[in-house]
Symmetry: D2
Subunit: 382 residues, 4 copies
């Protein structure tokens, strides 16, 4: 019986924070090892990262193509590959690894174009490979508890949603206040690397996924105002929308909202109850049943069961944060890999990680928002 | 020199909570007396209210017309009239009292139709009468402090606003859950009395006014989804909007949002700072200067000056609430009346109460939201 | 049947904030009139206050003795007197008015010495007069709801209490930082006027009363550290204590705790549940039943009944603050006066205002804390 | 140059949550490996744990004595040992490993008796070994930022502290409510294993350490009420205390405080400012400078520097929790080990982990509290 997992990584050199988060999250499971990688196109960075993480030299690859080719020939080939490169490369890398028969875990947004995402989704399905997309916020225990409350009918029919994700870190990009040359030069601001969107793609899609995960509903149509402030990509976006069941809502995401570090918040209103989850206080979920007092649920409490309880590592009140949410996502994904390898059937809980279908929806949402914003905020179908 | 004020009231019988709030708020000033009224079309209620408030029998009127006519003939006529009747009567009553030369303080929404509101505004201006509209939330000290911060340039250019006003009290109106006959039968739900809107008119306009008061900006255009849930009037409304300076934003108001008592909240984001005010914690204002830590300002603290300090009654931390916000609005209005009567010039601060122009804007906003909602959420100019 | 109330006031001239609060709170009831007063020993201030509040000249008295004597001879004598003078005068004034047969409502601390308080309590009982003491925080709706939860057994046996009342307004008194001459010179800092304590007497007693009101328990014994910082009276006080049922607890009060405006907070822990009330968010009560999620109760919600509901003036979420808490206390007291005058029996709810017994307990508590603090923090019986 | 670290563990079998936290925290550093262990006296659990963590069979020991002896003979001996066994064994195990020349990282409380802790402290110093004690809360970024503010003089002279650590998880131990046999039977409740205290030893010492870490002050004397509720060990403890600089304060810890998961909170008040840190919202620190508005500082913000910034792993607003605080403690400790091994001098920051002296203070504090509680709450010197 297979009990251990080895994986490889494309991107995520030693200076990239999100690569560290992926590796750290996977390391929460003691049966995992990072054994292969192409961490950077820069040779030196690639080697340094490999050395730091004790990846063998012969499995430190100069290109992702070489990595996929070589690994596919090994008897001890990696069980899956993590892709955490800039947005414009996700499609080609994921496609290559799928072609070579590897399971894939990819950063979001999944691809640049909708058709690309759909193609990857189809490939993974046809080849029976597990494809994960790093929407880590649905890995939080209390987001899972929120979903459970909705699934159990505690909210009744959902009638309104309110999601937001304000950050302040790009405030200096506003052209009124600083010169063009002094601006943020990371790849996220470069349309050639980042794609058609900065704010909506980077964080707006997290709202979309988190709401979709909790409610089981999709965004059906929307109209959006996207603010560029003379930059190439959006920095602020307000979206009015209709969900698949007819419910209304608004999503607001911003990278120029002073006073907010990482303010993802979703509020879901139904005919029988409502709930609120705030990412910066992730261990708490506010739930109000109709006609009763608001209740504050906490991870680890006896009254919190289901997936939220199964995935708890430490007693309630001892905070599990961003790494642990990532770790929940990976633990589920890797457990499914092992079960699959061992011929065990996969339950719904085994598949409780963000997948290629979620990835496709994210790309569609993002395109719809940007399209509406560029067309005088007209209504568009997602 | 005139030092005392007498006033009359139309509507606000002894069972109407808002009438009590008006009277209680005015009574904070020791130099005021309620001396006349037509509190109800129901004779018994009218007399009982008059008796309770010790209004003389000869100034307790059976109709507002009689009241306006008779009072106008008295040498000791009232200094102003408070109108707190259902929406459909504001226009006629206000017009009558303006015609007879009285200053007016009217509940919101100011009128049913935009043209009516504009007519009243024009009449008040032409007759040089003071016309107040009961947008009480701008009476709160920390809303005034917020305005001061904006006026002083502490927020820079405003780029995004986020306003909301969720309540839960009409949740039982949702047709999925109760029978039509069991529904709320108050006048607010009756289009013949309430006008074209319930939710947006009753509370959505408070968002619009509060944001407008703080920022000095008006809503220029908007598109809206208004949810009726098989009722005659809206119960939930999401609005995507553009302000007069080009800033974006969303306003959400709801009477069916479980978990919220009276959740008015406004957040204003600028290029140099942001602020947040939450009506249910009215004594606090969160202000974040760019690049600095969020700061929590409290009424009564030494660092809070201006109008917020002038209007403070008790030391900080001893909560001043809804009555006191109303009282601030009336204190300002009545001080202006006295100054005017005594021939003193009126300063900007003297006129710091919601006026007929604000009332007109509210009616325009409300019509725009309902029109958009009824026309497939298309964009409309306010 | 008597339906209206007239009252007089000793102290509370037009510049004294607490006098205004008493008058404003009483004015919430439309059947009340201020008709007599000796507002200040300063003739000018006395007259100005009388004039502002339209108190007749012949009932504006130069001394409280004259006021008590003269009023007692009038057929339309006042129904009760409010005493809001500095601490050192409460005893003599209250005694004089009780001797002349008047009901009394007195500021806290009730007296200087324990024996004085006990004497007033005895006099009021023997003469069958209603004696109120202005512990206004127990007038808050949600404090009453807290008491109801305890009375209903929802907390089980109380095992621990935690009360605090930090303020920052006297921070400049700390001798390290400013010169003696620049210090606060109000009467509260003067032992000849204030009595043996500043901090504990002014605010510590509010903790004691609020806990006692909610739980029905008294402080049995305590030890205390009282910090003077080279001032004549205490500015900070930490008290370890045992309640009458054996429960443990700590009370902390401070006037030099930077960051706090008026931070009264009480937390009560029992074998079946706990509750928390925070004065600066007075409309909320946190209640946690054993084994369940914490619940947030709000004034005005359908699930909040009893006295909290009876005394509500406006819909939940529209904040009722300090004035309204005072008004609740007075409404109860004055309703009891009317019922008594009309020969109606008084129920427990009718007597739900802080009384002379509460006043005595407050003076005892205060003496115990100061005594312990002056005697190397030894344990003393209250 | 030494660049990697190997370590062993005593205790912490696969079912023990805290063992997992230690291992997970160490694993945040990619240059570390668990290579030896005696995880349980139960052979089966010991082997299973070793297998799960891929510890070689020949370094999986049946006893800690054997482990210390054998490891000391190996050329590739472990760099340090983690001790996470029940309290009564810490002393003997730590002593054995120190004798064999190993660096030690030990769970708290450090030992059973004060003299034992002092002996270990002395041994470590004399043998020049690094001894860490697992007071993980001082590993939190914002606790380090708090310390920095104090060190920079931003609080002035500290005059009052208020610490608390309420939990609810042992509420069922209260003898009023359940039978003796149904009670919690973990080792923490057994005096033969746990020592003289449950509540104060397990969590009260965390208050003591966190306050001491931030302020640099020690508890000088105290008096305490400790509540046993007919159990062998304390479940609730209120402590009145004096710090080494004369400041006053109270510490409250409880395992029977309904409504609290893990409510460690410390508030420090000085002559120039105050601060508040709440463990359940670890990324925020409230700081109020005298005369200014309270400010909310967040890990990861540009205005948060020093150790808090150095130890940040991910952008602000992405929550770092309990594992990460542990990881900060270990990262510092292991960096010091490497520097020492490589002959580099150790700076103050290198030694910024809880050490043997902190461990001794914790044991002293705990004894003082229990002694006072058992002696009619008399004052005792720590």
């Amino acid at each position: 019986m297979k009990t251990t997992i080895s994986y490889g990584m494309v991107g995520g050199d030693i200076n990239a924070f999100i690569g560290k988060v992926h590796r750290g999250a996977i390391a929460f499971e003691p049966n995992t090892t990072l054994v292969a990688g192409c961490f950077s196109r820069n040779l030196e960075k690639n080697l340094l990262t490999a050395q730091t993480y004790r990846v063998p030299a012969d499995r430190t690859y100069a290109s992702y193509e070489e990595m996929a080719d070589q690994e596919s020939l090994r008897p001890d080939k990696i069980d899956f590959v993590v892709i955490c490169t800039p947005n414009n490369t996700h499609y080609a890398i994921a496609k290559k690894f799928l072609e070579k028969g590897f399971n894939v875990f990819c950063e979001k947004p999944m691809t640049w174009e909708i058709t690309e995402a759909e193609e990857l989704e189809r490939m993974a399905r046809e080849k029976d490979l597990l494809f994960g997309v790093a929407y880590a916020y649905s890995g939080y225990h209390m987001v899972k508890f929120a979903k459970m409350l909705v699934d159990e009918g505690k909210l009744g029919k959902i009638i309104n949603v309110n999601g937001e994700y304000p950050q302040e870190w790009l405030i200096d990009e506003l052209s009124e206040t600083i010169s063009k040359t002094a601006k943020f030069s990371g790849w996220r601001a470069d349309p050639k690397v980042s794609g058609i969107s900065n704010c909506t793609g980077d964080i707006g899609t997290h709202i979309e996924h988190t709401v979709s995960y909790i409610t089981g509903l999709r965004v059906k149509r929307l109209c959006a105002r996207t603010d560029y402030f003379q930059n190439d990509l959006d920095l602020n976006s307000n979206v009015l929308l209709e969900l698949s069941n007819g419910a209304s809502g608004v999503f607001w995401s911003s990278q120029v909202a002073i006073g907010h570090m990482n303010g993802l918040r979703v509020r879901i209103y139904g005919t029988l109850g409502s709930l609120e989850w705030i990412q910066e206080q992730p261990e708490q979920l506010k739930f109000t049943p109709r006609g009763e007092a608001p209740q504050l649920y906490y991870r680890g409490a006896g009254y919190v069961g289901g997936r939220a309880a199964e995935l708890s590592r430490i007693p309630g009140g001892h905070i599990e944060g961003h790494y642990e949410a990532f770790a929940n996502m990976y633990k589920t994904y890797m457990t499914a890999l092992l079960k699959k390898a061992n011929g065990e059937p996969l339950t719904e809980n085994d598949l409780d990680f963000p997948n290629a279908t979620d990835g496709v929806e994210g790309v569609k949402f993002l395109h719809a928002v940007i399209n509406s914003g560029k067309n005088d905020s007209k209504w568009v179908t997602v």
